[in-house]
Amino acid sequence: MHTRFLRGYRPRYQRTKKMSYAAAAFPAFVILSIQMVLLGSALLAATTDETGRWTLEHVSRVFADPLFTRGVLYNVIIPVTSVALEALVGVGMAFWFMSVRRRKMLWRTIAVVPFALPEIVYLLTMKLLFREHGYLNSLLVGSFGGSEVIHWLEPGSAVLTGTVILIDAWRVTPFVFLLVLAALEQLPESYAEAARVDGASRWLVMKRIQLPLILPVLGVALALRSIDAFRIFAAPLVLAGVEGLPVLSTVAYHYRTDMNDIAGGSVVALLLTAFLMCGTAAVIWSFGRWRRVS
């Protein structure tokens, strides 16, 4: 009877518990594995020709396509600028919003609108506004006269890039704004008070006390948001079309849907995935280093 309690023996309840945990986690494990299998299938499509042999012809074909090169360029410019803008405007808005005293909930709801709308609806509103015979040009022509309209969404122009960056950044700024505002509201009043007692101006309090304290929250939000920004798809597609402002997701979509080139599409999609994985790894590694140091 004493042998029942030797090392290695687990009471029945422990065994049942472990089995229940495994059973509960199993369907999710299957779902997650399916996605890895699909990625593997894409890798296969990207690196084999019709006979099934290993080949790099799809990769070289894609690299030679100017649409792909433009896609890479825009896929770097747009997310980087967009996230930078979101950070600046979001943090600025949060600090400014701290001095709103009345009806805070109403104004917060209004501020959140671009992020809460479905993305395609938000893009429709922006298209109505920015297209050649849209409301913004109508307003400008109506106020300033003349017949020249600004081609905000002219394919291949810098104005288009700027407009798309602005539209995409404005959609996500409420997210950064809400996060930073929540972090600011949770800061204890005593820090800012102590600084003010020592004679610090409001700007100095903001820069030296509040900003460093919310930096962890902001860092995580921006890291998550950057990774999502590189996956941008709907905004360039709806506002400019694939040829007008290519990014890697739309280029892959174009290869698959318009040109029936599954291999080419897989190459582009996998390159984007690899880039995102490296980026995530880099972010996690530097975040870990920063936490250990500070």
Binding site: Y21, A25, A45, V121, L129, A252
Partner: protein, 262 residues
């Protein structure tokens, strides 16, 4: 301060009023130049056209069905997994790491092989959207898992141990004790999953070619210049968003920070 708030209201609410204006004005208003902010005549023409010609009722039903079905499936798969990771220390890192890793994959990289797989399986462009439901479950499960993981960490395991003393098995304890204890965050996650599916664009565009849900349909209307119909449909799409806008705002911040969800 007041100026700033007024500008904020204008920039955020203005475009929506433009959609309303576009939806409720006849086509003749759109060819006038320059366009006027307040149309000279209103008409239900766009809404009528949507209802009769474009068969919008089927689209709304399909979107709602896909949203509901994918939300339920994500829950069935993700919530028990989140619970088990919350309680099982050995698998916690691997499970949450795996979920986060899968979340980082760009949708296009999954959509391309998925469409190639769905076609022989007969689920491509299915009238009841089963292929799309599968796609949404693939993307939604990591979210459900991470949110429920964060939620169940706040539920003390002592409750389940106390239940065991009374003879309750672990799975029964999960269903009858842990889930009701975490129903707040889980309800929020349900809303988020439904809305994510309702608004989802990329998979819907690639998988449902003719039996479309609303987001790709809106895109096609915009592409082919039928802005009146697009705006009317956009108003229908906004309704669930409006219904939860105040609730969502508070919840998104808290749970996205806790669960690493965007």
């Amino acid at each position: 301060m007041t100026v700033g708030l007024a500008v904020l209201a204008l920039v955020n609410l203005g475009p929506i009023s433009l959609v309303v204006r576009q939806a409720l004005s006849p086509a003749s208003e759109s060819v006038r130049w320059p366009l006027e902010a307040v149309p000279r005549s209103l008409s239900w023409q766009n809404v009528q056209e949507l209802w009769e010609t474009h068969d919008v009722a089927t689209r709304v039903t399909l979107s709602a069905w896909v949203g509901l079905a994918s939300m339920l499936c994500c829950f069935v798969v993700g919530v028990p997994a989140g619970w088990s990771l919350g309680r099982w220390r050995a698998a916690k890192a691997a499970g949450t790491g795996g979920a986060l890793l899968v979340r980082m994959i760009p949708p296009i990289a999954i959509a391309l092989p998925l469409t190639s797989t769905l076609i022989p399986a007969g689920l491509y462009n299915h009238p009841w959207g089963f292929g799309l439901i599968l796609a949404h479950v693939l993307t939604g499960t990591p979210i459900a898992l991470l949110v429920s993981f964060a939620a169940f960490r706040d539920v003390p395991p002592e409750l389940e141990e106390a239940a065991h003393v009374d003879g309750c098995s672990p799975l029964r304890a999960f269903a009858m004790i842990a889930v009701p204890a975490a129903r707040g965050p889980l309800a929020g996650a349900a809303v988020i999953l439904f809305l994510t599916s309702w608004d989802e664009f990329l998979y819907a565009l690639m998988i449902q070619l003719t039996n479309r849900t609303m987001p790709p349909l809106l895109y096609y209307y915009t592409e082919y210049g039928q802005l009146g119909a697009a705006s009317a449909m956009a108003l229908v799409m906004i309704l669930p968003a409006i219904a939860v806008i105040g609730f969502l705002q508070r919840f998104v911040v808290r749970s996205s920070y806790a669960g690493g969800v965007l």
